[in-house]
């Protein structure tokens, strides 16, 4: 047996155990076996498991009944499968990473139509698409046509904007709308400016000075 395979076989139960430990005491006990089995199923299918654990923790924190937590995790597993299938359809080279599958899942969850997500995946084949998808979703949230929003963001990427700078494109479009332009005009104005869109302002220094890392100031629950 290959050493790598031995490591995988040994690591999987250990990872599953650590995720069960995270759920203990935070999720209703009766929900844990179901969530645990979904996590193991996701592991076997090479799908990300962290979103399932997060959904269960979220349900537990919000005092949701066990059956509802299990249902939410079950639904999420299906959505993660859909996200990976979309990556395959868009021509993404397998195997899809957990991060990529989670990104696509989040974009679909935000309401972007699958064909629009596929278009962006295909247009940005060798780079993270999270910011591009959020930029398109931001515009779609403000009632822009998802197709025209995707076209703008893809144009911006072709002109050299990458990663978080793509978020500045959608922000610039929304600013143009606030200045009184119609949506179509706002898109046209920003397209003409590309790739020169303004960067976001820095947060005020005084407020940044008070920034803390979670955990460093942990307080007991109220």
């Amino acid at each position: 047996m290959r050493p790598g395979l031995i490591l995988v076989l040994l690591a999987s139960p250990l990872a599953a155990q650590s995720e069960r430990d995270r759920l203990e005491g935070r999720v209703p006990a009766v929900a844990i076996p179901t969530v645990d089995s979904l996590v193991q199923l996701a592991t076997r299918e090479d799908l990300p498991t962290e979103p399932l654990v997060q959904k269960a923790l979220e349900g537990g924190a919000k005092h949701q009944p066990a059956v509802r937590i299990a249902a939410a995790a079950q639904a999420m597993l299906g959505q993660l499968r859909d996200a990976r299938a979309l990556l395959v359809r868009a021509g993404d080279a397998p195997p899809a990473t957990a991060a990529e599958v989670t990104t696509i899942y989040a974009a679909l969850k935000r309401g972007l139509p699958a064909p629009v997500v596929e278009r962006i995946v295909a247009a940005l084949p060798h780079e993270p698409r999270g910011s591009a998808l959020h930029a398109v979703a931001d515009l779609a949230t403000h009632h822009f046509e998802p197709d025209s929003a995707a076209a703008l963001i893809i144009d911006a990427a072709r002109q050299g904007l990458r990663g978080e700078r793509l978020l500045d494109v959608s922000t610039a479009v929304l600013h143009e709308v606030q200045r009184g332009h119609s949506r179509a005009e706002a898109v046209a104005v920003v397209r003409r400016q590309l790739p020169n869109v303004p960067s976001p302002p820095k947060p005020a220094g005084a407020s940044v000075a008070g920034a803390r890392r979670p955990g460093t100031t942990a307080l007991p629950p109220p």
Binding site: Q54, E164, S207, R213
Partner: protein, 206 residues
């Protein structure tokens, strides 16, 4: 100045007898000899050397009042201070002073890692006694990130250092009420009948 009669010099030097002088000159010689005797009595004995006499003067303790006066005089008198520094160090010192002067202490944020950014959470809860934020950045723990309302205007705030990425979150008011961020642009269904807000933490804010 009146010239001195040379017979006075001769009498003082013993070249001529004092009795041979007229009475008025003899009185002058007497006065000069008295003055010389007084001066001789005021001068300390010359047997000790210069060094001995200087050290004796130095070791002599000054009266305490004099010492205080001397100290005050030293503080009040301009003193020359010689400061030798390499030009490179002096430039660095000047730059540090400018930096410390121009950037107020309360505006220096925490040191951020390469993949960290700042998330600011703001919510208006006029009647709340406590507000926390919980989300996928802290495993949805409700008591770890408190918001503060320092000026008691009902607006609660927290500024948090997080790894870059997108996170779902909600506010937890008074430890039990889950409330979405109404000022957030990005919302997503939470699968439990409500909506989570989404915050995107960027690395560019540094």
């Amino acid at each position: 100045m009146n010239p001195i009669d040379p017979r006075i010099h001769q009498a003082l030097d013993g070249d001529i007898a004092r009795e041979s002088l007229p009475p008025e000159l003899r009185r002058v010689v007497d006065r000069l000899e008295s003055a010389a005797a007084l001066l001789a009595a005021a001068v300390p004995p010359q047997s000790a050397g210069l060094e001995t006499r200087v050290m004796a003067a130095v070791r002599r303790p000054a009266p305490s009042g004099e010492r205080v006066r001397r100290l005050l005089r030293w503080f009040a008198t301009p003193q020359a201070v010689t400061f030798r520094i390499r030009p490179a160090w002096s430039l660095a010192l000047a730059a540090a002073i400018v930096l410390l002067t121009l950037v107020p202490a309360d505006e220096r944020g925490p040191a951020l890692g390469e993949h960290e950014g700042i998330a600011q959470f703001v919510g208006r809860f006029p009647d709340a006694h406590s507000v926390h934020v919980a989300g996928s950045f802290n495993d949805w723990r409700t008591g770890t990130i408190p918001l503060e309302d320092r000026d008691h205007d009902g607006v609660w705030r927290a500024t948090v250092v997080l790894p870059t990425g997108a996170y779902e979150y909600m506010f937890v008011v008074d430890g039990e009420r889950w409330v979405p961020d109404h000022w957030a642009d990005r919302l997503v269904e939470d699968d439990f009948g409500r909506e989570n807000s989404i915050v995107i933490v960027r690395a560019t804010w540094r």
